[in-house]
C-alpha cells in the first residue's frame, strides 16, 4: 500500500475472483498483511468496524470459513450475528429472496453468505443494499479461500509470477479449484489441474489451466501443490471406485512427493481426509503450509471486511 495515495476498494460486494482486478487483489493482500499482526497481540481487537453489523448466513455446513469470518469480524469490533440453514426460517420453507429482504430490513452492513447453489450470492447482491461477501457458492466460487491461498504463497515464495501451481483432486466439484485457477493465473502463475478424468469438468482449460490425468506429471516442477478433499458420496456417482484406489492413484504420499521440488509448498483448503487424498506424513510434514493457510484466512477476511464496509466506498 503506497502511503501517499491509498487505493480504495470500489466494489459493493465481493462475489468471485473473476470480477476482481489484479490491483484489487493486491490491495486485499497488502491490507491483510498489515492486519495480520493484530491477531498476535495480547488484546486482539481494534475499533475499525465498531458500530457495523455483519450477518454470517451459512446455508451449508462450515467450520473453518465460518469461524474465520466471525473471528475476523470480532477482531475488527463489528457486531456479528450468525444464521445457519438449520436454525433459520429456511427450514420453515422461506425462500432465499424473502430471507434476504427480511435481513436487509434490519440494516446490516454486510452479509457473508455460504450457499450450496452457484450464483446465490449474486442473486442476493442484486436484492440487498448491504455488501454481500461470498463465503462459497456451490461449485462456483470461494474468493476468500483463494485470496488466503494466494497470500500464503506470496508470503512463502515472495512472488507469484512464473510459479507452477498444481491443483489435484475432484476439480469438477470444487469451487476452490475454479477460484484458485482463475486467481493464480490472474497473478501470473501457471496452473496445472490433475485428477481422474471423471473429475475433470468439460471446458476447464478455457480458464487458462492445463490438464493432466497423472499426478506425478502435475507434481513434477510444481512450486505449489494444492490437494482437494475427496467426498465419499462421489462413489455413488461413479466418479471413482474406492477410497483405497483413489489414495493409490491420485493421493499425495511420501512416494509421490519424492518427485517434487525441494522447496514445494503443500496446501489444502480443508477439511482433509487423512489417508485418502493426502497421507498423514505429508499433511503434517515439513512442506505443509496447511495451517498457515488457516492463519492467513483470518487476516484476509479482516482485510475483506475492512475494505468492503470499513472505508467510505
Amino acid at each position: 500500500m503506497s502511503p501517499d495515495k491509498p487505493m480504495k476498494f470500489e466494489k459493493k460486494d465481493l462475489l468471485d475472483i473473476e470480477s476482481l482486478s489484479v490491483k484489487e487483489i493486491e490491495l486485499i493482500l497488502d491490507t491483510a498483511e498489515s492486519l495480520k499482526e493484530i491477531s498476535t497481540r495480547p488484546i486482539k481487537k481494534v475499533p475499525t468496524l465498531r458500530g457495523k453489523t455483519i450477518v454470517h448466513f451459512f446455508h451449508e455446513p462450515s467450520t473453518r470459513t465460518r469461524t474465520s469470518f466471525e473471528i475476523a469480524a470480532k477482531r475488527l469490533s463489528a457486531d456479528t450475528v450468525s444464521i445457519s440453514a438449520s436454525n433459520s426460517s429456511i427450514v420453515k420453507g422461506e425462500t432465499l429472496i424473502d430471507t434476504a429482504r427480511n435481513l436487509q430490513s434490519m440494516n446490516p452492513d454486510a452479509i457473508v453468505l455460504r450457499h450450496n447453489a452457484a450464483g446465490a450470492p449474486h442473486m442476493l447482491a442484486r436484492l440487498v443494499q448491504a455488501s454481500v461477501i461470498n463465503a462459497g457458492d456451490g461449485t462456483h466460487a470461494h474468493p476468500s479461500q483463494t485470496l488466503l491461498d494466494i497470500m500464503t504463497v506470496r508470503e512463502k515464495k515472495g512472488h507469484l509470477k512464473g510459479l507452477r501451481v498444481a491443483i489435484i483432486g475432484d476439480i469438477a466439484h470444487s469451487r476452490v479449484a475454479r477460484s484458485d485457477t482463475i486467481g493464480f493465473i490472474k497473478m501470473g502463475a501457471e496452473v496445472v489441474l490433475a485428477g481422474p478424468p471423471t473429475m475433470i469438468p468439460k471446458g476447464i482449460e478455457a480458464l487458462g489451466a492445463s490438464v493432466t490425468y497423472h499426478v506425478r506429471e502435475a507434481i513434477k516442477d510444481a512450486d505449489v501443490i494444492m490437494m482437494l478433499r475427496i467426498q465419499k458420496e462421489r462413489q455413488q456417482a461413479f466418479l471413482f471406485p474406492s477410497e483405497r484406489e483413489y489414495a493409490q492413484c491420485y493421493g499425495l504420499n511420501t512416494v509421490t512427493l519424492a518427485g517434487a521440488r525441494d522447496d514445494v509448498l503443500i496446501m489444502h483448503p480443508g477439511p482433509i481426509n487423512r489417508g485418502v487424498e493426502i497421507a498423514p506424513e505429508v499433511a503434517d510434514g515439513p512442506y505443509s503450509v496447511i495451517l498457515d493457510q488457516v492463519t492467513n484466512g483470518v487476516a484476509v477476511r479482516m482485510a475483506i471486511l475492512y475494505l468492503v464496509i470499513g472505508g467510505q466506498r
Binding site: 447453489a117 452457484a118 457458492d137 462456483h140 469451487r175 469438468p201 476447464i204
Partner: protein, 427 residues
C-alpha cells in the same frame, strides 16, 4: 354469423400452393371462396382489410403446457388459450403433465370442457404414454382417443424403459396416435441444470451433455424402425440429434421432429448471471448446435416449430438457479422469433407457414388442411412489418417467465380467426 371478406391479403397456403394477393370469403364459419374478386363487398358483409399483410392457414402449436388442472396459479386453459390466440395460433396441443395427469378420459373431458368454455382456440390434448407418467404401465390410449387426444407423450418425464417405449409405439399405432418423445436420459442429466461445457464449468453449474438427448433419440429411432410406428421427437436441441433424424428420414423411417424458437434463437450464453428464465429442458446449447438446428429446419429434417410454452410463476423462478423450474413461455413470441428465420433467409415464408400450420395438422391427423373451400375458417393474419418491444408484463399468459423481455421484435399476428370467429386482434 355475417359473411366475412378478408380482402387483399397475401395468401400463403403451403397445402394448396396458393401464394399471392387474393381475397378469402368466410361464410357460416367455413371458407366459401379463395381467389380474386370473390365478390363485391356488400352489406351485411364484414370486411377485414388484409392489404399489406399475410393470410395463412391457422397456426398450430403442438407443444404447450396449460397447467390446468392442478397448477392454475401458473396458467389456466383460458389464459393459455388467450395467449395462443394473441400469438396467432388457432389450435394448440396441451401436454399431459397436469395434476391429475391426463392419462384417462375424465381428465381429457375436463380439459376439452374448459377449452370450450374459454371459447377461443381449439385445444387438442396429448395423453400420457404411461399411467401417471410413471413409466411403468401403458395408459389407456383407446379410451383417451375416443375422448379426443391427438397423440401421447410423457413429456417432462422421459420414458427411460426401452421396452415400454417399444410397446407404446406399437400400441399407439393401433389407434393411429403419434407418440411424441421427450428424448432425455435422466441418468446422464443427473443433477445438470444447463448445457455441459466451458460455460457451465465457469459458472459452477452442473452440466447436461448433448448425449443425454442424443442417446435417447438414437434409441427411439431404432424402436420406430423396429415397430414401423410413427415417432415424433420433441424439442430437438443438439447437432447430433439433427444428424440422426436426418439419416433416419433418408432411410424412410416414420420419424418427424420439432424444435422451439428458443433453441433456434438463443444459446447457453443466455444463462450468464444465473438467469432462471433461460433455464429450460432440454437446455439452451452452443452456437454450433443452434446452427445445426437451423440447418435442420432449412433442409426439412425438422418439420415443425412448437413453443414448448411452459408457464411458471415467480415461486418457481425467483429462486437459486439450481432450484428453479425448467421452462419458459413461448406462445406469444413464437411468431416473431420464427419470422427472424425468414428475415435471415434461412427458410422461405411458405416453408415457415408449413412448419407452423400444415405439418402440425398432418402430424395430429387433422381432417381439414389448408384454406380450402368447405374447411373450417381457421386462419391467421400476420403483419410481418409490425415492430415492437416485448413487454413481459403485457402478455396474455398468466406467467412472465420469458428470456425475451425487452427484445425488439418484428412481425406479429394481426388477427386470429377460429371457425369464422375473430378470437384475437392486435393493432
Amino acid at each position: 354469423m355475417k359473411p366475412t371478406l378478408i380482402k387483399g391479403g397475401h395468401v400463403v397456403d403451403p397445402e394448396t400452393g396458393v401464394d399471392g394477393v387474393m381475397d378469402v370469403l368466410v361464410e357460416e364459419g367455413k371458407i366459401s371462396a379463395v381467389g380474386h374478386e370473390t365478390g363485391t363487398p356488400q352489406a351485411p358483409w364484414e370486411v377485414i382489410d388484409a392489404s399489406g399483410k399475410v393470410v395463412t392457414p391457422g397456426l398450430i402449436d403442438i407443444h404447450t403446457h396449460l397447467r390446468e388442472p392442478g397448477h392454475e396459479y401458473k396458467e389456466t386453459i383460458e389464459t393459455g388459450c388467450l395467449a395462443a390466440a394473441h400469438g396467432g395460433f388457432t389450435a394448440i396441443c396441451c401436454m399431459p403433465n397436469t395434476e391429475p395427469v391426463n392419462d384417462n378420459q375424465s381428465v381429457t373431458d375436463y380439459i376439452l370442457k374448459k377449452a370450450k368454455m374459454a371459447g377461443t382456440v381449439r385445444v387438442y390434448p396429448v395423453g400420457a404414454i404411461s399411467q401417471g407418467l410413471h413409466g411403468e404401465r401403458l395408459a389407456e390410449y383407446g379410451e383417451m382417443k375416443d375422448a379426443g387426444v391427438k397423440g401421447v407423450s410423457d413429456d417432462g418425464n422421459p420414458v427411460m424403459n426401452a421396452q415400454l417405449m417399444r410397446r407404446a409405439l406399437e400400441y399407439a399405432k393401433g389407434f393411429d396416435l403419434v407418440v411424441i418423445s421427450h428424448c432425455e436420459d435422466l441418468d446422464l442429466t443427473a443433477k445438470g441444470v444447463m448445457n455441459e461445457g466451458a460455460l457451465a464449468t465457469r459458472l459452477g453449474l452442473a452440466g447436461i451433455p448433448n448425449a443425454a438427448e442424443s442417446v435417447v433419440v438414437a434409441r427411439d429411432i431404432a424402436l420406430c424402425e423396429l415397430t414401423e410406428a410413427p415417432l415424433h421427437i420433441a424439442h430437438v436441441s443438439t447437432e447430433e440429434s439433427v444428424r440422426m433424424i436426418r439419416q433416419a428420414k433418408a432411410r424412410g423411417a416414420l420419424v418427424t421432429a420439432e424444435t422451439t424458437p428458443h433453441h433456434f434463437t438463443l444459446t447457453e450464453e443466455a444463462v450468464i448471471h444465473y438467469n432462471t428464465h433461460a433455464k429450460v429442458s432440454p437446455p439452451l446449447r452452443t452456437a454450433r448446435d443452434r446452427e445445426a438446428v437451423r440447418q435442420g429446419l432449412a433442409d426439412g429434417t425438422i418439420d415443425i416449430i412448437a413453443s414448448d410454452h411452459a408457464p411458471h410463476s415467480s415461486i418457481e423462478k425467483e429462486v437459486e438457479f439450481d432450484a428453479a423450474a425448467n421452462g419458459l413461455i413461448g406462445l406469444e413470441t413464437s411468431v416473431p422469433l420464427s419470422l427472424r428465420l425468414v428475415e435471415k433467409g434461412l427458410i422461405g415464408l411458405k416453408d415457415l407457414v408449413a412448419k407452423m400450420s400444415i405439418n402440425p395438422a398432418r402430424l395430429l391427423r387433422l381432417p381439414h388442411l389448408g384454406l380450402k373451400v368447405g374447411n373450417p375458417a381457421d386462419l391467421t393474419i400476420l403483419d410481418l412489418d409490425k415492430r415492437f418491444v416485448l413487454d413481459a408484463n403485457a402478455l396474455k399468459s398468466k406467467s412472465r417467465n420469458t428470456p425475451f423481455d425487452g427484445w425488439r421484435l418484428r412481425g406479429q399476428a394481426a388477427m386470429t380467426m377460429v371457425g369464422g370467429k375473430v378470437v384475437a386482434a392486435n393493432s
